[in-house]
């Protein structure tokens, strides 16, 4: 049901029945290793290109999610996913192998929540019984496309972020099967594209912060809730700089968040001593942390209600070279248990 200007409420409570998360070596050395299903100890993962490894991550995550629910691809009506590579080929190629009717999304790093919002909407209104949704990224494949060759010795500034190698997939269903308590989605807020004029591709957190703030404000306005409703508000990949900027922006607009309850997936994923500059980023960042870590925490009783706000920078290497600024977007989905 439409609530306010840009939010949906899911009164039938679509359930996230199972999840699958596959990650690379750098993420395996991070903070959340225990929450991942498949861990690879090198970036090639036995493939001949990084793009193939990227596709494999998503396939593994999808297969894991299906297996945990005892479902086959043909039991699933739709597959809604995306990534950062040109023409989202890793995702489309994975969809070719999965043979599930497919919606390819591009919302940069906000794809995970764009997918979860759409999947929840479909399941809530009977458009589907089971929907597989997720997002993925591969550090070397994404760096190759957006920045310099991976072995190039350029110095990254402290505002830069580290692209996550990982895929996170969730199975959204109207049929929870057993009595086990499972997390379900309750609402989603779709963001609009915000461009506050920053143009530095090595500072995406700063560019994305206004989009995150805008969507968070819209969410609370539309649903007539206040931040105390949530145990945790998590942004996708704002990093250190973006997170602080977003907090300050929200405060300026009259919404004070408890800084202990305002976290960022890009900061949760890695250890302090890992050289990720401002934090993790990439489409796989929010997907791996949500479908791996956060939902586990919810099942363990750590959180009852969370709001995940995935942020995306909608730039391309071409627009950067043509001196365009960086338009950004954020989508929020609330999950309860």
């Amino acid at each position: 049901m439409l609530r306010g200007k840009q939010s949906w409420e899911f009164s039938n409570h679509p359930v996230i029945r199972s999840t699958g998360v596959a990650v690379g070596p750098f993420e395996a050395n991070g903070n959340l290793t225990a929450d991942f299903d498949v861990i690879h100890d090198d970036l090639w993962m036995g493939n001949t290109s990084y793009e193939q490894a990227h596709r494999m991550l998503l396939e593994e995550a999808a297969q894991t999610a299906l297996k945990k629910s005892n479902l086959k691809p043909e039991d699933t009506q739709f597959f809604i996913a995306g990534d950062l590579i040109n023409q989202i080929t890793p995702t489309s190629f994975a969809a070719r192998d999965l043979q599930i009717p497919y919606f390819g999304l591009f919302g940069a790093c906000s794809t995970s929540m764009e997918g979860l919002a759409l999947a929840s909407f479909m399941v809530n209104y009977g458009g589907a019984n089971n929907v597989l949704t997720g997002a993925s990224s591969h550090n070397a494949a994404v760096e190759k496309q957006f920045r310099y060759p991976t072995e190039y010795g350029g110095q990254k500034p402290p505002t830069a972020q580290w692209t996550v190698t990982g895929a996170g997939v969730g199975l959204i269903t109207n049929n929870p099967l057993n009595d086990e308590k499972l997390p379900y989605t309750t609402s989603a807020t779709i963001g609009k594209v915000i461009d506050m004029g920053l143009a530095d591709p090595f500072n995406m957190g700063g560019a994305m912060a206004p989009a995150a703030a805008d969507t968070i404000l819209a969410h609370f306005n539309d649903l007539q809730k206040d931040p105390s409703y949530y145990d945790l508000i998590v942004t996708g990949d704002l990093g250190k700089i973006g997170r602080e900027t977003a907090l300050a922006l929200l405060k300026e607009k009259g919404l004070s968040l408890d800084s202990n309850k305002f976290k960022d997936c890009g900061l949760l994923l890695y250890k302090e001593n890992q050289p990720v500059q401002s934090g993790g980023s990439g489409a796989g960042c929010s997907a791996t942390v949500l479908y791996g870590h956060l939902l586990n925490e919810m099942k363990n009783g750590m959180y009852k209600r969370i709001l995940l706000v995935a942020t995306g920078a909608l730039l391309s290497p071409l627009t950067v070279q043509q001196n365009e600024t960086i338009p950004c977007i954020a989508h929020a989905v609330s999950i309860e248990i």
Binding site: T150, E151, Q155, M196, G206, A248
Partner: protein, 160 residues
């Protein structure tokens, strides 16, 4: 930021740029300069050492030892790139490892490795000078301009 870029921004965007800047972690410029000075200096010292080797063992002169020395330094940096060490050195040293000729070698071989999956002709061949190409173009062009100015100057002053 360039003024031309600033002009295209709305007042709101300019205000945000200022607001956002207070949260940015600044580049540690002084620290970077010191690191670049020492690492760059060290690379050049190694180069000097190699150049002396060519002079003493292979009968090169101080004028002619430049070419084999650059080639050797480039070769070493290519090996380091292939073994995945040079990009880490680059993150530490910044300009220190980018400015010497070893940085040039790194930019070539890293592009070659990166595009190996697209085949030898269109992948490696088409992309190997992706980063170094502009160095070569503008290097050759500025050498030409300087030589032209020198020649004209000498002709006018009757030196030629």
């Amino acid at each position: 930021m360039a003024d031309s870029k600033k002009k295209n921004k709305t007042p709101k965007q300019q205000q945000y740029a200022k607001f956002e800047q207070q949260f940015e972690t600044k580049r540690p410029v002084l620290k970077n300069c010191i690191k670049a000075f020492f690492v760059g200096g060290l690379i050049c010292m190694i180069g000097q050492f190699i150049s002396y080797l060519y002079i003493y063992f292979f009968h090169f002169t101080e004028q002619t030892s430049g070419n084999p020395t650059s080639a050797t330094v480039i070769f070493i940096s290519m090996l380091l790139t292939g073994f995945g060490i040079y990009d880490r050195l680059g993150q530490f040293a910044g300009a220190g490892s980018a400015v010497p000729v070893s940085g040039f070698g790194n930019s070539i071989i890293s592009a070659a490795i990166e595009h190996r999956t697209e085949g030898f002709v269109l992948g490696v061949g088409g992309n190997i000078f992706k980063l170094a190409g502009s160095v070569i173009l503008f290097g050759v062009f500025s050498a030409f301009v300087v030589a032209l100015i020198k020649t004209i100057f000498l002709m006018m002053t009757g030196g030629l």
